[in-house]
């Protein structure tokens, strides 16, 4: 018993004495406080990064805005909590954040033992390696003996160990807690190799002092399905976060954009009418605990999935990442939304 009480005492510090976490209805809490508390990366260009005046932008940040838009019809009603890879899970468990949109890989362990729920994958990623061109390395299999920079508390760290072990390669891990520290160490030449999700590598290369001196190796050694995560036990909130993603996909499928959304309301297509909540007696949003305008509000705020992708990480951004697996299912990718009906 004494051990249990000590455990609990420590827990008070860890769990932030969170009565908030004890409350089941996250949507009611969010509505009551008037904003969505969103856990994001501490600074990963293209995904979540603050500018000089403290305004956040990026792919994950747009998901936070989309959720806020669905609830409040106002994408600015978000507060951001920058979290390191290590801090993110306790932050979600304790109720410090309502949703974690922080390029987090969906794994069975996180879905079950850690007490989270994942559903939509908003970015299909895989782990890659970046090296200096001067090393003349053409494949990850030539990396035996290298010092590898990696961020702690990531699936990346585990995949790295497994990959080198299964290929009988030696390596020396150099592990940091914060992304900025990993970047600085790699840039200073502390390690030969930088490994993380390939999208992350493209983003990080831009922040190095000489981006052109570095190349990304062709191997992808893992599946990294990234997506927003919520706590288990609140199905309504889980549904909202899930359907915000599907709404973005559906909008791209219908060709609804930030610019033409008002026009599309007058569309003759009943599917589009139903999706945008203009059908007579529509309950398309109220069943979610939102208004029927929820999809319209999302699209007005951030655009459709394609626009979000292009603006932050795709062709319209410095990262220039190809859509690849993240194209719509009808265009060679695997992004797919269940019918809105």
């Amino acid at each position: 018993m004494a051990k249990r009480i000590l455990t609990a005492l420590v827990g008070a510090a860890v769990m932030g004495i969170g009565t908030q976490a004890a409350s089941g209805a996250t949507l009611d809490d969010v509505k009551a406080k008037g904003f969505v508390q969103c856990g994001v990366n501490t600074g990963l260009a293209g995904f979540a990064a603050p500018d000089a005046s403290g305004n956040w932008s990026g792919f994950d940040v747009d998901y936070c805005k989309a959720i806020a838009a669905a609830i409040f019809a106002d994408g600015s009603k978000v507060k951001y909590t920058p979290t390191s890879a290590k801090e993110r899970f306790p932050a979600l468990q304790s109720g410090e954040v309502d949703v974690l949109a922080r390029n987090t890989t969906w794994t069975i362990n996180r879905d079950t033992a850690l007490g989270f729920n994942f559903r939509p994958v908003n970015y299909y990623d895989g782990q890659g390696f970046m090296v200096r061109k001067s090393l003349n390395v053409k494949s990850a299999l030539e990396l035996s003996g290298a010092a590898v920079c990696v961020q702690t508390g990531t699936t990346t760290e585990l995949n790295l160990a497994d990959y080198f072990k299964s290929n009988n390669l030696q390596y020396n891990p150099v592990v940091f807690e914060k992304l900025e520290e990993v970047n600085a160490a790699y840039d200073a030449g502390r390690c030969d190799v930088y490994t993380t999700d390939q999208s992350g590598l493209y983003s990080l290369r831009l922040t190095l002092s000489k981006p052109d001196d570095h190349m990304i190796l062709p191997e992808i050694i893992s599946k990294e399905p990234l997506g927003p995560a919520v706590r288990q036990g609140d199905d309504q909130w889980f549904d909202i976060v899930t359907w915000v993603h599907y709404a973005l996909i559906q909008a791209e499928d219908f060709g609804i954009t930030q610019a033409n959304v008002e026009e599309m309301k007058k569309s003759a297509n009943p599917d589009v009418q139903r999706f945008l909540g203009v059908e007579a007696d529509s309950k398309i949003g109220t069943d979610l605990g939102l208004t029927n305008e929820w999809a319209v509000n999302i699209i007005k705020t951030v655009g459709n999935y394609g626009e979000v992708f292009d603006r932050n990480i795709g062709a319209g951004s410095p990262l220039k990442i190809e859509r690849g697996l993240n194209a719509l299912w009808s265009k060679g990718g695997i992004q797919y939304a269940p019918p809105v009906r």
Binding site: L6, A8, L9, S144, K165, E181, G189, G233
Partner: protein
Amino acid sequence: MAIGVTTTPEKSKPSGSIINDPQVRGIFYQVITLVVLAAFVYWVADNTIENLKRANIASGYDFLNGRAGFDVGQSLIAYTSDSTYQSALVVGLLNTLLVAVCGIFTATIIGFAVGIGRLSHNWLIAKLSLAYVEIFRNIPPLLVIFFWYSGVLAILPQPRESAALPLNMFLNNRGLAFPKPIFGDGSLYTVLAFVLAIVASFLVARYARKKQEATGQRFPVLWTSLGLIIGLPLLTFLATGSPITFDVPIAGKFNLTGGSVIGPEFLSLFLALSFYTAAFIAEIVRAGIRGVSKGQTEAAHALGIRPGLTTRLVVVPQALRIIIPPLTSQYLNLTKNSSLAVAIGYADLVAVGGTILNQTGQSIEIVTIWIVVYLSLSLATSLFMNWFNARMALVER
């Protein structure tokens, strides 16, 4: 408190109502405080258990037997990604201990040198020591660590342009590589000879002290001990046919391979903690020496004892009595500050524990382990220093 209960009623009656009895009031307030504290603890415990249940998180320490799955850069014991979380924690603990012990050792030496330097009659030495103390004492330790880490990384050459040092050692921004001794058959005798030499040196020192007390004659302890400790193992080594060979680092594809490496993370953390804590130790040493009355020095001088010997034999032993208690706090501080290692990627207990915490989600259990370990380390250090203090205390005859 028992006194309050046993007081005879005759005595307390004249003062009137029981409410005005200061002893009763005292007990009342203490009971209230205890109840409030207990209620708070219960509330926290209940809330935590409830939240854990709701979040579907299993608690307990069974996860420690699971496969860790991650690698650790610096390890004093055999460790791979197949080892358990438990061994990962042990690796972290040993790394913490390593940097703490090395740091304490160096900080003490630098601290004593600077502290005595501040009292020097030599203007330059005194001012340099003053500058050292003021600079390092007034910078947060984390900044000192960053300073050393970026300094070490920025100044040291890339692996392909390693700086060659004597004795086949190499220095680059991956650390200091040095030949690793490989113990062949019969090398046990050399190790035994080394241990034997140390024991013999102790005996020589005891003999010398006895002799000096009895006859006043001094015996060259230092030179005899040095000769024993270096000579005896060396002779054994040669006599048994040089069984120890060295694995010398050579240039590999990415970095030097072979040999042993002290990583830049350890180097910078060790340097930062030593230099930072030394500034405080210097002030403690200065205070201790100042605390010895000037008459002691004057008396020693009057007896014709030279200044160096006066410091060593008269001032420092008395100053130690003042120095040791605050010195203990500095040792504790250094040990605890070693947890800042996480900022530069040194695999100490907090860094490794953090990784495990993240992968298993067992935050409460890991935090408990951290608390218990640091508490034990601190208490053990305190115990040792208290014992040392008692030994150093002035023995009155």
